[in-house]
């Protein structure tokens, strides 16, 4: 069990000029991120909101999960080489490495501990939590800042080819959502159980039946669980309150992290069961309890 001590989110429709995001970040840190790009800034904005007022310990680990990372700067550098026929600008090149975002989070918050940028397609946030659980179990860390960050998807063709879902059904957003986790329950506002992985919805439903859950259960889904998955899981949680955070907040590839912080932001009590799936039909369930 990891205990949730803080949460924060910076998610919204993409803006053409990143000055607005820079202004948001500058509310929380005096470091001037002159070279920071869109991806870095959206990661920073959510992380800064998350830790505001919490004073995380310097040894706090950072796990930045993302599906696509620094797409914008990678495009810029390839354009500089192949079309402008010139060397990439150094900071564009450096920013193609997506761990620059987790670096700037560490630098701005003064956190020189563990630092990882990590991906696992639609399950990036859930798998990132597994890494954090492992580190806490080993005693290597006492606290962690974990977030999901992605730029918006602007390509209808890519989205529809990837998900086999109608692009127009979703509002495309971008941003990051973060949790501040600690081993200690003292002062916590909630808790996370270790993510559980299943090869079928039936196996997931059976597992749900064996869990001791609070009276009030909220149920949410990632983008890939299909109607049959939802039917099977829904039967196992017949009294659950639906929470469609993608409809309420919009879609980006780090939506799970947004779903968790969305639940924590609501006045609702009880727990959230979040059901997600990847393209290999692996289902991962996340149980988030609110104290």
């Amino acid at each position: 069990m990891m205990h949730i001590h803080g949460h924060g989110s910076f998610v919204g429709p993409p803006v053409a000029d990143v000055k607005a995001i820079k202004a948001e970040v500058s509310r929380y840190t005096r470091i001037h991120f002159r070279r920071a790009n869109r991806f870095v800034l959206i990661a920073l904005a959510g992380a800064c909101r998350c830790v505001q007022g919490h004073d995380p310990a310097p040894a706090t680990a950072i796990y930045l999960t993302t599906e696509n990372g620094n797409l914008g700067d990678t495009e810029t550098v390839l354009n500089q080489i192949f079309h402008k026929h010139e060397f990439p600008m150094p900071y564009n090149f450096i920013n193609t490495m997506s761990n620059t975002a987790s670096f700037y989070v560490a630098q701005s918050l003064g956190l020189p501990g563990r630092n990882v940028t990590f991906s696992s397609k639609q399950l990036s946030f859930e798998r990132g939590l597994e890494l954090a659980f492992c580190d806490m179990a080993m005693g290597g860390i006492q606290s962690a800042l974990i977030g999901g960050a992605d730029e918006a998807c602007f390509s209808r063709d890519q989205f529809e080819a990837k998900f086999q879902l109608p692009y127009g059904q979703y509002e495309m957003v971008e941003g990051s959502s973060w949790l501040l986790l600690r081993r200690t329950a003292q002062g916590a506002l909630g808790a996370l159980r270790p993510p559980a992985t299943f090869e079928s919805a039936a196996a997931a439903a059976a597992w749900i039946g064996r869990q001791a859950l609070p009276d009030t259960v909220h149920l949410s889904y990632g983008i890939l669980p299909n109607a049959a998955d939802r039917e099977t899981i829904g039967q196992a949680l017949a009294d659950a309150v639906p929470m469609d955070y993608i409809a309420e907040r919009g879609y980006f590839d780090s939506a799970t992290a947004c779903g968790v912080t969305h639940f924590l932001e609501q006045g609702a009590t009880g727990c959230l069961v979040h059901v997600n799936k990847d393209f290999r039909d692996q289902l991962v369930l996340l149980v988030v309890e609110k104290y």
Binding site: R35, I62, E67, N68, G69, L71, T74, E75, V77, L78, N79, I81, F82, H83, H85, F87, P88, M89, P90, F93, I94, T96, M97, S98, N99, T100, S102, F103, Y104, A106, Q107, G110, L111, P112, G113, R114, N115, V116, T117, F118, S119, S120, K121, R127, E130, L131, F133, C134, A137, M138, S155, D157, Q158, K162, T197, E199, D253, D278, R280, Q282
Partner: protein
């Protein structure tokens, strides 16, 4: 750690090829393979060295994706065979994948005629590992690390940690970076690439020579052989000094090495040799040596580096250099720092200039990268 974690199987494909015996023979002889690579895409009339794979895509007639997957799959298949995994063990394997370039080598050639290819066609950082899972029918979870030059070292660290904690029985860990124009032109833009010879820790060092390659290991709780290497511990930390360079004093680097040793439960005096990150860039080598001196003081163990043999394989170097180093040690030697001639008094560290005979021991492996990322691993075998 609750469980011991062993290297059960391994394979590599690098500038010295993929045959372990030939690679070891080349390393004993100090042989390297460097190809001059032109910068003609931006109209320059000079070239820079690069440690390319012996067989290039143009030799195979394959398209970018087929070539990319062929090298990756061949390396993984050989690691599985080396480990002697049964089909049901393969099916359960989780995949830890580390890379700097991820899928860019597949797509970037299309930029000659198109724009925004990546935004329209890339399936995300996690896709390579997921596709490996699909092709090999591996049903375990996938973990993709993108932390610049420490990417696959982080894969090793976390895979070993999860096995040690009992969260996994075994794991496939892959480090893979093929040549990419983005990386080659990017490093040249930073003026980090040196003409030959490649000589990290030398007073006349002038920078790095890049390399491409793929390494794969199977980590397992079960000891496969008496002389098998075990992952004893490790650490990861972030040096927040600068996004491009670590603190020249080496304080955070020293801290990560110290944390790794403590995590492994060994004192500095038990380290038989250090595989330094040793990129050959003026500042990186200075920083690493400052860190090494803080950890080991006057009791500096033998220090070597492997990049002069195969180039700096960026995110793949974590696994590739683990494979080469452990295989050399199993064969009874620690290779010298090829190319090194003249000590730099400012570094205070003189690397091995001749092979060191060993029969087992505990070793420290360093990896550092952009974004302040630092990883140190401790491995050992008891022969």
């Amino acid at each position: 750690m609750k469980h011991q974690v062993y290297i059960r199987g391994k394979a590599v494909q690098c500038a010295l090829g993929g045959d372990p015996e030939r690679i070891m023979a080349d390393m004993r002889q100090g042989r390297t393979r460097v190809a001059e690579t032109p910068l003609d895409l931006i109209g320059l009339d000079y070239s820079r060295p690069y440690c390319r794979l012996p067989q290039q895509r143009v030799d195979t007639g394959q398209d970018g994706a087929t070539y990319f997957n062929a090298i990756l799959d061949d390396t993984i298949a050989r690691a599985i065979a080396d480990a002697g995994l049964r089909p049901e063990e393969v099916r359960q394997l989780p995949i830890f994948f580390g890379s700097t370039s991820i899928d860019i080598p597949i797509y970037e050639e299309d930029y000659r005629t198109q724009r925004e290819v990546l935004s329209r066609t890339s399936s995300g950082y996690g896709n390579i590992a997921h596709e490996v899972g699909r092709r090999f029918d591996m049903r375990g979870p996938c973990y993709t690390f993108t932390t610049a030059c420490t990417s696959s070292a982080n894969g090793l660290l976390f895979a070993a940690g999860m096995i040690a904690q009992g969260m996994l029985a075994r794991a496939l860990v892959v480090g893979y970076d093929l040549y990419s124009h983005l990386g080659f032109y990017g490093f040249e833009a930073l003026k980090l690439i040196t003409p030959p010879p490649y000589r990290p820790f030398d007073r006349r060092r002038q920078g790095i020579i890049m390399g491409e390659g793929c390494g794969a290991v199977i980590l397992d709780r079960q000891m496969p052989a008496p002389d098998a290497f075990a992952c004893l511990g490790g650490a990861n930390g972030c040096d927040t000094f600068s996004v491009t360079t670590h603190d020249p004093e080496g304080g955070r680097i020293a801290g990560v090495m110290t944390e790794a040793l403590a995590n492994a439960g060994v004192t500095p005096s038990r380290i038989a040799a250090v595989k330094a990150h040793a990129t050959g860039s003026y500042h990186n080598d200075q920083t690493e040596c400052n860190g090494l001196r803080q950890v080991f003081g006057g009791q500096m163990p033998p220090v070597t580096g492997l990049k002069p043999y195969i180039g700096h394989t960026v995110g793949a170097c974590g696994v590739i250099e683990l494979v080469l180093f452990s295989e050399a040690a199993r064969n009874g030697f620690i290779p010298p720092m090829a190319g090194f001639e003249e000590p730099d008094e400012a570094l205070g560290v003189t690397p091995l200039t001749q092979s060191l005979a060993v029969s087992g021991g505990i070793f420290l492996l360093n990896y550092f990268g952009f974004g302040g990322n630092c990883v140190s691993l401790v491995i050992g075998n008891g022969r």
